[in-house]
Amino acid sequence: MAPERIVLRFNATTSDKPVIYHLVKKYNLIINILKARINPHKEGMMVLELHGEPEQYAHGLEYLRSMGVTIQPLSEQVQHNETICNHCGACINVCPSGALYLERPDMKVKFDNEKCLVCLMCVKACPYKAMEVYF
């Protein structure tokens, strides 16, 4: 299977459990941690690129849910609001993955969801708030 990008959210009781270890050990999944954060309330958020045998992958997600972890696909999280965007280009160089780029020769800003790492730098850097986050 192709790698899937997902967002995991941990509550305060599961955020200190070694769930990633179990995903590797029990379900033989290949994990690339793109981003991990824990807030002062001990709630955690993690962005993973995950792949392995389809059956193992399904069991792995089942295990995560059983631990009280909520799972969302990553691509739904950042959106390029084209009615607000005026194609200034302020976001282009803050995007680390090339998901935001200028289409030449028109110089229009394009957003490739597939490449987005949800680092949210564009959300802060866009002067017009055209990059929106959905949780």
């Binding site: 200034c88 280009g89 302020a90």
Partner: protein
């Protein structure tokens, strides 16, 4: 000179529906194909455009008198302070004014989510705006406080007045320091991580008439989606042309002060801007028509991105310290290609002003002229051209009579 056209002649052609108008981008291949002489005879007007954050923008209003009367001394619109020291119910809001209690850069880089630029946009978008004002109260203006909601339609006058817009050219910002900096030219990554620029190049108004032969006081322009006028030279106006060491020339320094009725403008062309770690501003859509009176005017109006240069400046250390020595000069064609070379390093580029929006403005202005709804105006007075403006001086600091805490201890005429 042979082939001269007059402005009244061009206006006559507009009224007859026979005018030939091209955008500053469209005119380039026409001049390349026909040559200057033939093209100057055929083309009547070249339209320009620019859309980007332009600090030194503001709007002033008359709210109408309250009952009982009030001489407003402090005014807030949606929590953003407007300057009320003009008259009883007049106030001016500046684009870069931030909200009361904005955390600013206390958590760096600050987000600056709302400010004067956003208030101007929300007014134009006809959104309801909270108006709060306080006063000390006088015999003729006894009221001391008001809290109400207004829209732009309730105001007696609402005027956009921008003391400095349409900068002729602008720096390309890079960062030679070791940490990311957050500037009005965007986020700049350390050690030449990226280069940001902010001019529409071959579409930019004052780059297409660098000697200000046709743009002057009273010139009718596209402003904020409506009609505006050049009011004066902009602040810091000091146009210049400099030959560059490796060929080409650098044209920079001209600015315009512009004015127009805010009530007929469009929210799409006046956008509040939140610039990370820097502050708020207003993105202004501005376009200037250039009448092709002769070949020389068309020569400048048809210059291409390959011929227009901008200086590369270090915003990490040199610019903040006040020593902006250019590291290199690059063309807008190079900037638009996606990379430039600075100190032997390939640096990715990014714009801060929208080329697609600039193009749309030039096209809208072209359509207005073609439809006969926009006539060109002869300037009532010229603006200082290259070599005619006084040089810009830095602020000279002298010892002031304060108590050591910045409070004046000597009051003039006290």
């Amino acid at each position: 000179m042979a082939g001269e056209k007059s402005l009244p002649e061009i206006n006559k052609r507009i009224k007859k529906g026979k005018v030939v108008v091209l955008t500053a981008e469209e005119v380039i291949p026409v001049v390349q194909e026909l040559g200057l002489k033939k093209a100057a005879a055929e083309v009547d007007v070249v339209t320009t455009g620019t859309f980007g954050a332009m600090c030194s923008s503001a709007a002033y209003f008359n709210f109408g008198h309250t009952k009982p009367r009030m001489k407003m001394t402090e005014v807030w619109l949606n929590g953003v302070n407007a300057y009320a020291g003009i008259a009883a119910v007049d106030a001016l809001i500046g684009a870069t004014e931030v909200m009361k209690n904005d955390p600013l850069n206390s958590i760096h880089p600050g987000e600056f989510r709302y400010g004067g630029g956003h208030v101007i946009h929300d007014l134009v978008a006809k959104k309801p705006i909270h108006l709060r004002a306080t006063a000390h109260g006088t015999d003729c203006y006894p009221r001391r406080e008001i809290d109400t909601v207004i829209t732009i339609d309730d105001l007696n006058q609402a005027v956009l007045f921008n003391p400095r817009n349409a900068y002729q050219n602008y720096n390309v910002a890079v960062n030679l320091s070791d940490k990311t900096v957050y500037t009005y030219l965007g986020v700049l990554k350390p050690q030449l991580g990226n280069a940001n620029y902010s001019t529409s190049g071959q579409l930019s108004p004052l780059l297409k008439d660098p000697y200000l032969r046709t743009i002057g006081i009273g010139s009718r322009i596209f402003l904020g989606g409506g009609i505006g006028y050049v009011a004066w030279q902009g602040t810091q106006h000091c146009p210049s042309i400099t030959a560059l060491p490796n060929g080409g020339s650098l044209i920079e320094g001209g600015t315009l002060a512009v004015i127009g009725d805010l009530k007929q403008m469009q929210p799409e062309w006046l956008m509040g801007a939140s610039i990370l770690g820097y502050g708020v501003s207003l993105a202004v859509g501005l376009g200037v028509p250039i009448p092709v009176l002769n070949e020389e005017i068309l020569y400048w109006a048809s210059r291409t991105d390959e011929e227009i240069y901008a200086p590369v400046i270090d915003y990490g250390l040199a610019y903040p310290a006040g020593n902006p020595e250019p590291l290199a000069y690059v063309t807008y064609a190079q900037l638009k290609s996606g990379t430039i070379k600075v100190d032997g390093k390939e640096v990715p580029t990014g714009p801060m002003s929208s080329y697609p929006a600039a193009k749309k403005i030039a096209t809208m202005l072209k359509q207005w002229i073609e439809q006969g709804s926009f006539l060109l105006t002869e300037p009532v007075a010229p603006l200082p051209s290259i070599g005619e403006a006084a040089p810009l001086n830095p602020l000279a600091e002298t010892e002031s009579q304060t108590d050591g805490k910045g409070e004046l201890i000597w009051l003039p005429n006290a």
